[in-house]
Every structure is written in structure tokens, then in C-alpha cells.
């Protein structure tokens, strides 16, 4: 068992800006109740990050279309748990939609907390005409394509994107949605621009309302209290420490940090705290917090370091560094889970199980080398 100490204790400053420069426009009609969405074409141009909301509603991030769709999966039959083991899921999806397996890009996985069915977002094709796919995988391994052209849904457009050239046929600017979560009635959205270096973390009330204003949080990151940088969030997860809700976020530039959810509101300024830095050339991809044998852990799938299990009993002890005289402290210890290799996505199933999507080789962000498999594992 590899046991390491984290490197740096870093301060995170979250400057929360009002939505003055950013407006979320509800693209579709009247606000509807959960589970009572309007039918028709979802309008999705791509299917990326996934997150479940209330009552079987699946949020699908559409980076190409600059939108988020809330799909009614109509999948509300409770199940305590479900084991999934599908080998060659990329090959199976490819066969269903009539392309070579290499022309399927799997983007994300999520587990319906009610039914425990698995949902996979993917692209049919690698070019600009690629079609979005959302596939449901049940416990028997049966795959069902969601009919994205005729499904109850609601969409919100993330339309703060100015045209570089109004005469151009298509705006070249995109905001890639890297992760989403449903937190206290809001869809939180992390993303990266393909033009400017920005740190947009958005919070959008759900159900989406006509002309609803979301808030955009400008995320700052400081090292040693000295160098501050705008830092886009790559992935995040909701977590409770000592009765207080936090967002545990992994940044593109560095470590895992905690941000109190209560501070993520317009007009506030808060300081978050680094709890772990997995080191050079690595990025956390997905995180699953859990409890086992009376202890708290966070299972983290990484781009380079494989899967690690972070010991999270003492996350509450990490305090912000807001003085240049404060020296580094060790971060939370972690163990590498050697048995889990080439994990590209990780999602929580229930208190004792997680779902992993693995490639034949090339774990993490790197090019996927199929076949890819979907499997339920017991949390280590």
C-alpha cells in the first residue's frame, strides 16, 4: 500500500461576482414541475457531463450547443442496488448506432439514484457532425438509447457567448462543460472556455425559469497566500464536513480544495482550503465520497495516478492560509488502489458500491483504447 502525504497547503479565494456580465436565458417554455416536462426534441447538439437531479431527471451538459438539458428519464422504479458488468460497451453502443467502435466517444457516466440504472453519454462520430447519445444500461446489461428527438425535457442556454464576428455563420467560442452537480435546488456547472482563461463556476436554479439569472462564480486560487490565479474547476463533488456542506473541487491547475456551499452565493467572498495535491502532471477526473468501517474516504480517479483512496476523516482541520508567514502543512494521506487500472470515469452507486468505466489501456484523459467496460465495484 502506497501511503503519501499531500504537498502544499494552499488558500483558495473565491470571489463571487454577480451575474452582471453573464445571463442565463431559459430557452424553452414555461417553468414546469419536476417530472412534468414538455415533450419533443431535446435540441441537444452534444451529450457530455451528466448529473442526476430529483425524480429521475438527468441533466446533460451540451458543450457544443452551449446548453444544459434536463431530461425526464421516466426511470423512477426504486432499486436498492444493481450490479452492472458490461464488457465492450463502446462496441455495443457502436453496433446499435451503426458505426465502428472507434467512432464512439464515451463522455460521462452517471447512476440514477432511484433505479440504480446506469446512464452513459457519448458521441456518435468524432467530427463536428457527431450525434449525441444517452444510453441507459440496466442491471441485466441491456442497453437502451434514450430518444433524444422525442423526450420530455427542459433546456437552459448558457448564452453569455459573444459573437467574435456577427457576420460569421457560427460563433467559434465554446464553453466546455467539465462537470455538473445538483446542489440544493441548483445545477452547478464547471467549465472551460476555448478562448479566454476564465474560471466560470455557474449556479442555475432548477426547474429552469424563463429568463432566469444564474450566478457566475469567479474562482481564484492562491498558493502560499502569495500567487493568486483564476482557476477553472475540472471536477467537483458535494461533501459534508462536520455538518456543513462543502464542494470538493479539483482545479485544472492543481489540488483538491474545499469550498463551503453556503459561501457560493452572489456577492460573497470566501476562502477555500486545499486538502490534497496529488502532484505533477496529474488531474483528478471523478470523485466518490464514502464511509467504511467508521472512517471517511474519497475515491478519486486520476488522469495519471490511477485510482486513489483519500483518508478524509480530518478534512475539517484544514484551514485557509491567509498570511504569508504560514508555512506548508501536509495534506490528507492517500493510498493507491493498484487493482483499479485504466479507469476513465467513476460514479457512486450506493453506500458500498461505485461504478467504473475502464479502457483497455490509456487510463485517464488520454486517448481511449477500447474495448471499454462498465463495472460495479465494492468501494475499497
Amino acid at each position: 500500500m502506497q501511503h503519501r502525504k499531500m504537498m502544499t497547503h494552499v488558500t483558495l479565494v473565491v470571489a463571487v461576482a454577480l451575474a452582471a456580465a453573464f445571463t442565463v436565458h431559459a430557452a424553452r417554455t414555461p417553468p414546469v414541475g419536476t417530472g412534468d416536462l414538455a415533450g419533443g426534441n431535446s435540441g441537444l447538439k452534444s451529450a457530455g457531463a451528466l448529473a442526476f437531479g430529483p425524480d429521475g431527471v438527468l441533466f446533460v451538459g451540451d458543450s457544443v450547443g452551449g446548453a444544459i438539458a434536463a431530461l425526464d428519464t421516466a426511470d423512477r422504479t426504486p432499486a436498492a442496488s444493481a450490479k452492472v458488468d458490461v464488457k465492450g460497451i463502446d462496441e455495443k453502443v457502436a453496433a446499435m448506432v451503426g458505426v465502428a467502435a472507434g467512432d464512439i466517444l464515451i463522455n460521462d457516466v452517471a447512476v440514477n439514484p432511484i433505479s440504480k440504472n446506469v446512464y452513459v453519454s457519448a458521441a456518435r462520430g468524432r467530427g463536428p457532425d457527431a450525434a449525441p447519445l444517452v444510453v441507459r444500461v440496466d442491471a441485466s446489461g441491456k442497453l437502451t438509447l434514450l430518444p433524444l428527438d422525442n423526450i420530455k425535457h427542459e433546456t437552459v442556454s448558457l448564452s453569455d457567448v459573444p459573437d467574435a464576428n456577427a457576420a460569421a455563420r457560427q460563433n467559434p467560442r465554446t464553453q466546455t462543460i467539465t462537470d455538473m452537480a445538483f446542489v440544493n435546488g441548483n445545477v452547478m456547472v464547471a467549465g472551460m472556455s476555448n478562448e479566454e482563461w476564465s474560471s466560470a463556476l455557474r449556479s442555475i436554479p432548477y426547474p429552469f425559469k424563463t429568463a432566469a439569472k444564474g450566478t457566475q462564480l469567479q474562482i481564484w486560487h492562491a498558493s502560499h497566500g502569495r500567487y493568486e490565479t483564476q482557476s477553472p474547476v475540472r471536477t467537483f463533488v458535494l461533501y459534508t464536513i462536520d455538518g456543513q456542506q462543502y464542494v470538493l473541487a479539483a482545479y485544472t491547475c492543481t489540488p483538491l480544495v474545499k469550498i463551503p456551499v453556503s459561501d457560493l452565493k452572489a456577492g460573497a467572498q470566501v476562502k477555500g482550503v486545499t486538502i490534497s495535491d496529488l502532484g505533477s502532471g496529474n488531474q483528478p477526473l471523478d470523485m466518490v465520497p464514502y464511509k467504511k468501517d467508521g472512517h471517511e474516504f474519497i475515491l478519486i480517479a486520476n488522469s495519471s495516478f490511477g485510482v486513489v483512496k483519500l483518508h478524509a476523516d480530518n478534512l475539517g482541520q484544514y484551514k485557509p492560509i491567509d498570511s504569508p508567514t504560514v508555512v506548508d502543512v501536509a495534506g490528507a494521506p492517500y493510498d493507491k488502489i493498484a487493482a483499479l487500472n485504466n479507469v476513465r470515469h467513476l460514479a457512486q452507486v450506493d453506500a458500498g458500491n461505485a461504478l467504473i468505466l475502464t479502457a483497455a489501456s490509456g487510463g485517464g484523459f488520454g486517448p481511449a483504447v477500447g474495448p471499454m467496460s462498465l463495472r460495479t465495484i465494492a468501494l475499497p
Binding site: 502544499t8 456580465a21 465492450g88 462496441e91 455495443k92 457502436a94 453496433a95 446499435m96 448506432v97 451503426g98 458505426v99 465502428a100 467502435a101 466517444l105 462520430g125 468524432r126 467530427g127 463536428p128 457532425d129 442497453l143 438509447l145 459573444p162 459573437d163 467574435a164 464576428n165 457560427q170 460563433n171 467559434p172 467560442r173 465554446t174 466546455t176 467539465t178 472551460m192 476555448n194 478562448e195 479566454e196 482563461w197 492562491a222 498558493s223 497566500g225 502569495r226 500567487y227 493568486e228 490565479t229 482557476s231 475540472r234 485544472t252 491547475c253 492543481t254 495535491d277 502532484g279 505533477s280 502532471g281 488531474q283 495519471s304 504569508p324 484523459f365 488520454g366 486517448p367 481511449a368
Partner: protein, 362 residues
Amino acid sequence: MKDRLACLAVVLALGTTAIAQSVSLQFDGIAFKVLGWTATAPPGGGWSSIFRVYAGTGDVPPLVGTYAIERGSLVFRPRYPISAGVRYRAVFDAPGVRPAIEKSFDGPARPTAASTHVDRVYPSTDVLPANQLRLYIYFSAPMSRGEAERRIHLLDAGGKLLPAVFLPGQELWDPNNRRLTMTFDPGRIKRDLTSNRSMGPPIAEGKRYTLVIDRDWPDATGLPMTGTFRKAFRGGPAVRQPPDPKSWRVAAPPASSRAALVVSFGRPMNYVLLQRMLKVSGPHGEVAGAVGVEREESEWRFTPQAPWAVGQYTLIVDTSLEDLAGNKIGQPFDIDVFDKVTDRITSTTTSRAFEIGPTAKP
């Protein structure tokens, strides 16, 4: 009675055989059809229980699509278009039709003539600061996603492949897959982070490098490019001071002309952001015109649609405009909060006034 039943069975068997011999499967490029078999009502398991089309081998589900009866024939239309280079296998397995009928069809052939290439890369200069933040790669045609990490390399002066140079993760494309944004690992750029301490910045001042983009990267049609792209550059000093519009040289053109307004930054700026983050406002509001970027992105040229009128003008600058190192107007990429020299600007725009007179005044 027994004899009569035996006779009937023989007739049925012969009839079935006759049916099987005359049933055929057809593909017209869009739909798959069963010919020579009269479809009536769907069987208990649905049409898919007797007629399926597969696009893969092994234990895979059949194609998704819809069934219809057209002129008495069973027709299957796949939900998604037929793909180039894919072999489709149709299987008709109705009761009484023995043996089951199976036939393979090929989708259209993939194109074979490569024509796509790397058109240009920004920054265009051959000296990149040690804290260079992003590259913008323009392709002549749409490319395929999911390949960037294995197709883009940075080599040192000796041709050695340098690891962990770029931020791994989501590929940042424009909607046409013709422009890719690559980010140098910000953890190596930002001072004092673990990656920065252990590996240093991706680019070192004074060292020579070659950016290589592989020919084998398939374009959106699956074809490789026409050639491998190389861009040689050397590392320059890190740029820590944010761009300051007060220091820019604004050369106002003469009135009544359509000559370009020329803004010189004194350093290369972000090419992509220069397309939309500078605007000109005049006596009658925003001035319409065309943007040009010259001199390795250190010069912005604005040519108005209508001749310049005499009057007071303003160059409006979005404070999100970046230089090559991601320094914004009044805000360095990594702010040294102990260094009180830098004021953090929170406004979204700043401006620079200039005048167009009968004789131009800068």
C-alpha cells in the same frame, strides 16, 4: 386421416422451402427490405424478433431503427445514417423460413484522398514566453476529436519528447472542429505550485523547441492529414506585467479616409481575443469595420466601413483581453499579492481616447 395429415405436412414443408428460396434481402442505401415474403401482422416478439440488422460482430445488439410495411414488404430503417466503411449484416429469421436468410451489405466507401492540413498556429511568433499559456491550432478542415493528446508533441532541441507539457483533459474545439485550443499545464506555469516546483515551466527561457502535429491525426472523414506540421520556437523571458492600454501606441488615421486605425501593443497579444475584445466608438456610437491582426499579433488594425469623420473617438478594451501568458488588462496571470505595485482591475472594460482631426493626431 393420418395419410391426409401427412400429405398436408409435405405440402407445407415444400411450400416453406419454396418461400425460403424466393425470399431475399435488399439494401437501397437507406433502408433494409425483405422481398418475397408477405408481411402481415408483427409477431409476438415484434418485427425485431424476426428481422434484425447488425453493424458489429460478436455479442452486440442490433441496429436501432423503425419497422414498417411498405407495399407488403417488411422494411427496416436505421435511426442513424449509414456510415462509410461499415459492413451491415441483415438477418431474417421468420418461422417457417429455413434456413434463416442472412446477407451483408457495405456502407459507402471511405474517401481516400487526404487534403486536410494544419493551416496555422497562434502565437505566430517564434519566441514564446516561458509562461506561455495557450496555443490555438487552426486546421484547413474539420478534425476528429479524442486524438489531440497523442498527436501533439513538444520536442526539445535534441528532438527528445517532453512529457506533461499540456493540460490533459477536455479538448477545447470550436463548433466546427477546425480550431483547437491547447493549454500549457497551468500547474507548471503558476509559481510555487507542486508541478511548478518539481518540473519547472513547460518552456524554459533560452531553450529551443519544436511543436509537432502528427500527419496521422485523422480528420473528420477519417483520413490522415497531408503532412506533419512543425513549428520551431525558442523560450523567451516570462511575461509578468499585465498589458496596459495607456502604454499602447494609437495611430489615428486621417479624416475622410478609410485608412486603418493602428494600435500597437508593444508585445504579442492573444490572437483569438483580439478578434472581439477591442472596439471603436465615435461621435455616432460604435464604428463598424473590419479587424486585422498583424506583426505577430502585436498590432491591431481596424478598417472602418465608412470614412472616418472628424471627432473624438474611444478605443474600448475588454479587460479580459490577454497577452500570450494569460495576463489580462491590469491583472497578471498569477498575481503576486505581496507585490503592491499591481492594482487589480475589476471593471469589465477600459478605454483609450483618441481624436481624428483634419490632420490626424495620435
